[in-house]
Amino acid sequence: MSTSEHGPNLNGPHKSGLHVNGLTIRGPQGQLLVDGLSFALSPGERMGLIGESGSGKSLTALAIIGLLPADLTVNGSIRWDETEVVGASERSLNSWRGRCAAVVFQEPLTALDPLMRLGQQLAEPVQRRARADGTKLGRQALDRALHAAVLEVRLPDPERILRAYPHEISGGQRQRMALAIALAGRPALLIADEPTTALDETIQSEILDLLDGLVRQRSMALLFISHDLAVVSRVATRAVVLRAGIAVETGTMTNLLSDPQHSYTQELIASARQLDRALDWGTTP
């Protein structure tokens, strides 16, 4: 692993956001998985990372949060404010994760511990955050915080949810809980990796609205990773289009959709529009 040097930061010392510079990820046999990816995400900005299978979008998410498998090699730089993630020790990353950046994955069952009550799983990041802030939460204050966190992701009956195990609630409810746990550390950056892909469309729509509302309300930065252009365009203002580990195009959502420059972006949009048009055939026979 190596870390590239950076020039003086022009955006001020503390709130410069996320800077990914020349991120390169190689597999165990040296194969290029992500090739020289660079982009920046300002505090409070909502950006999409669009790509199909094998594009390297999920690896990029894992690299940003410092969770890449050990047999992959990372080069380049990933900075959040003043923290360099590439090459950082597990110990320093651990205190950084959750507090600065948190992730919601596609499958909430993999993010939740099946043997632990949801209340306990939510209590961990809430207490961690309180310790980092130098406050001590008593039993009642913790209970109030947990209730508030459950209500914030619009789950009914917090008492029951907090006592439940993951398998006792529905898929949509599990993803809401995964979101609550990610938000409990009050991160400045939320990374969402295909957070609605495994859900029914009506649930997907509700979770997108919820995510969008919470991110705006808290002025969090959002990196939203998805293969689905329509979903990305609902929550992001800007996006990077990835293909086979290479960023082929970057721009505002409006420009990408109305005037795509790269042939691959054009193909993605044409494919999505073809399915939308089929639905229109239903509405205008």
């Binding site: 997907q204 997108l208 609902r234």
Partner: protein
Amino acid sequence: MTALLEAHAVGYAYRTGQPVLHDVSFAINAGESLGLVGESGAGKTTLLKLLLGLAVPSTGEIFSQGARFDARNRAQLRSYRRLTQAVFQDPYSSLDPRQSVEQIIAEPLRSLGIARGRVELKGLVAAALLAVGLPPNAATRYPHEFSGGQRQRIAIARAIVPNPRVLLADEPVSALDVTTRVKIIDLLADLSSGGTPERPPMTLVLVSHDLGVVASLCQNIVVLESGRIAEQGPTHSVLSAPQHAYTQRLLASVTRLPGA
């Protein structure tokens, strides 16, 4: 006209549980592809199992070309298999990794006793590969050498090789990237509309949660909610003027690209 397939007041309960299908009736006529839509738990997959003959309705009946179909009758099941073939969601788990593509595609010909002799068999496999847009040399290769979209083409070739009248497809494009998805949809549209002298057009029975996919391929639609039919009719009228609140909610929740 006698329907190709007909479900008449079909209900189904798994041995240990509550009924998951209630009073489901619809008819599938030749050339009128049908989409079965609904969310997870709606009963789509159970209904497809009944249409595949992998389970028998607890109540009601299924008719195949006017005759009552009993999947427990082996002779009936055999002739039913010549009429209907299936394609599944996951092209990674539905193809045997140890068989060559030729062996995979030839399997229905062997099990249904259709092809006699190696030459005829090879010819039918080659024709099926051509029909799904794969090169002839794909026959000697193995599934792991192909991408997800190509694997789904192999699965479709296996399904169409005995010239079925009905193709039962369970979320056939859900596991594919969107650029691949539209190509497979185009292929299924060709196979279900065109048809050649050697290969008559097939009628699709498509299970999908994706209204865009169903609208692309199916003349008729059945909307399932919690094991019951919420609404059914021609796709364009159901989608343009959904009568049932559930259909309206499904349609409103589709995330679409802004602008046009």
